[in-house]
Amino acid sequence: MSVTDSRPGDAAAPEPLLRIEALGKRFGGLVALDNVTIRLQPGEFRAVIGPNGAGKSTLFNTLTGLHRPDLGRVFLSGTDVTGRTPHALARLGVGRTFQITSVFAALTSLENVQIALLAHSGRSWNVLASARSIQVTRARGLLDLVGLRDREDQLAGTLAHGDQKRLELAIALATEPKLLLLDEPTAGMAARERLESIALVHRIAREVGLTVIFTEHDMAVVFAVASAITVLHQGRVLAEGLPEEVRANPVVHDVYLGETTSDDAAGQERA
């Protein structure tokens, strides 16, 4: 579908938005990340794929500050951000969504987005203003963007699964991230809904000039939107390149894409 703006790892490219250098992380005896180096240029829509246990979640959790890497560095627009806390990284422009949908269930859709706006504008410490009236227009605009404008008064916990995913996207967008990490954005959706959902994210990312890195099990989704693909296997980068290159890579085929059909079927059973 779409092609990259610049090839990953291109020597002539400017300073990448995200530069991961030789990242290593182990949990006890398990090596979760082993010498992972990834460069992400502004505007990319990068997929990170790999079998379960390949290190995708560890990579995401390390990039967003939940884990501190044992080895290696992470640079955001040239600034070393290795080992920063989740809230510090969020303030530097790293947004994320979660594999398990993470909305504020007992609050309305509008309040969900408002909280993100408050956090982003540094107003979460204000104890005297009234929260209800803060940035309502902007919050509604974001709900509009993801198609939830008519659900603003509904408690987030009562929304349909797909709508919760979209609300989570609106929450993430409210903090105006430079880099957005989507951990399995279509998990738990029916096959058709998955493509619609990722197309929405893709369109919005284009509109607001967002750089995205996402993990995904459904290869149809990956090949529909990814500008480039990084394949992780046993904590290492097995391959990286344009979608067609990765698709044609025999090694990738052996360890991963070969099992796509069965994985896809499993995914559809779940959904």
């Binding site: 989740p86 809230h87 969020a90 956090a119 979460s124 104890v127 005297l128 409210a174």
Partner: protein
């Protein structure tokens, strides 16, 4: 605020202002106790209902406020006003120290740590006899001027608690309060929005401690005494019961819980020495019949 709510509040305000004045000194004392415990329960609900933090040691801050007043007045001859002002400050300082360590933990571990710190304060109150009077506590605290009259002191306490509850209302509906609710729902999500959630919880803990301290100070000045039992672990259960009884997801729930609890306790303990048994049975029945609390079922998600 709708016209009905405004009407209800006006009636309630009038009732609070006038009703106890017609009663004798005993019921005025009970009314003061109910007000003080309403504030105490509300400060606790800031932690539990809004922040999702179940503290097992909230009595520590009620006690710190009370002992702050007692020690300042009885041992250091401080004037009434200074002592009363010091109550929330002393409690806030204690809560800041305890909270600094406690908010690093969540769930049962948070509960246990707050509980342990409370036992520490209790032991100090019991053993530092020179300052605290040990087991005998501190007695003979007096109020100045017209405040000696229980009816006047009732109005004074009503004014202070109304002011404090107004502040709390402002706070829970502020961006700070809204963020606190979000932390209760999903702390990790809030973290990734750029909020230092631990600092947020810490400040909440300090504020809750300060209001509990104010309640403790007001109560010490009502009874004229302070006892170590106020700091005991059973005293930490009281606000938990009041909040659950009244409704922890409704802003005014703890007020209802405190009034019902104090009312029942007073009436039943006047009739039988087995009053805790009857209290227990009634509370169990209320919790089973009204799982959202006395105000919870009616008001739905007012305080969500």
């Amino acid at each position: 605020m709708s016209r009905t709510t405004l009407g209800l509040w006006s009636v309630a305000a009038l009732l609070f202002l006038v009703a106890p004045l017609g009663l004798g000194a005993f019921w005025q004392f009970i009314a003061i106790e109910a007000l003080v415990f309403a504030l105490y329960a509300m400060s606790f609900n800031l932690l539990l209902g809004y922040g999702g933090m179940l503290s097992f040691g909230h009595a520590a801050y009620f006690g710190l406020g009370a002992y702050g007043v007692g020690i300042l007045m009885a041992k250091l001859s401080a004037p009434f006003w200074l002592a009363l002002l010091a109550a929330p400050v002393v409690a806030a300082v204690g809560a800041a120290a305890v909270g600094y360590f406690s908010v690093r933990l969540t769930g049962i571990y948070f509960a246990m740590l707050t509980f342990a710190f409370q036992m520490l304060f209790f032991t100090v109150a019991l053993k530092a006899t020179v300052l605290t009077g040990g087991d005998d506590g501190i007695v003979g605290l007096t109020r100045p001027g017209v405040l000696v009259d229980p009816a006047v002191y009732y109005l004074f306490v009503l004014f202070i608690t109304a002011l404090a509850i107004g502040l709390l209302y402002r706070m829970v509906n502020s961006p700070f309060g809204q963020t606190l609710r979000a932390i209760r729902e999903n702390a990790r999500r809030v973290q990734h929005l750029g909020v230092h959630t631990r600092a947020h919880c810490w400040l909440t803990f300090v504020i809750a401690g300060a209001f509990a301290g104010l309640a403790g100070g007001l109560f010490a000045l009502s009874t004229g005494s302070v006892f170590p039992g106020w700091l005991d672990w059973t005293a930490s259960a009281t606000p938990i019961v009041m909040v659950v009884l009244g409704g922890l997801r409704v802003f005014t729930g703890p007020i209802a819980g405190a009034f019902v609890f104090i009312g029942l306790e007073t009436v039943i303990s006047g009739h039988t020495e087995y009053w805790p048994l009857f209290m227990g049975v009634i509370i169990i029945a209320l919790v089973l019949l009204l799982p959202g609390g006395i105000l919870g079922t009616r008001s739905g998600r007012v305080g969500h």
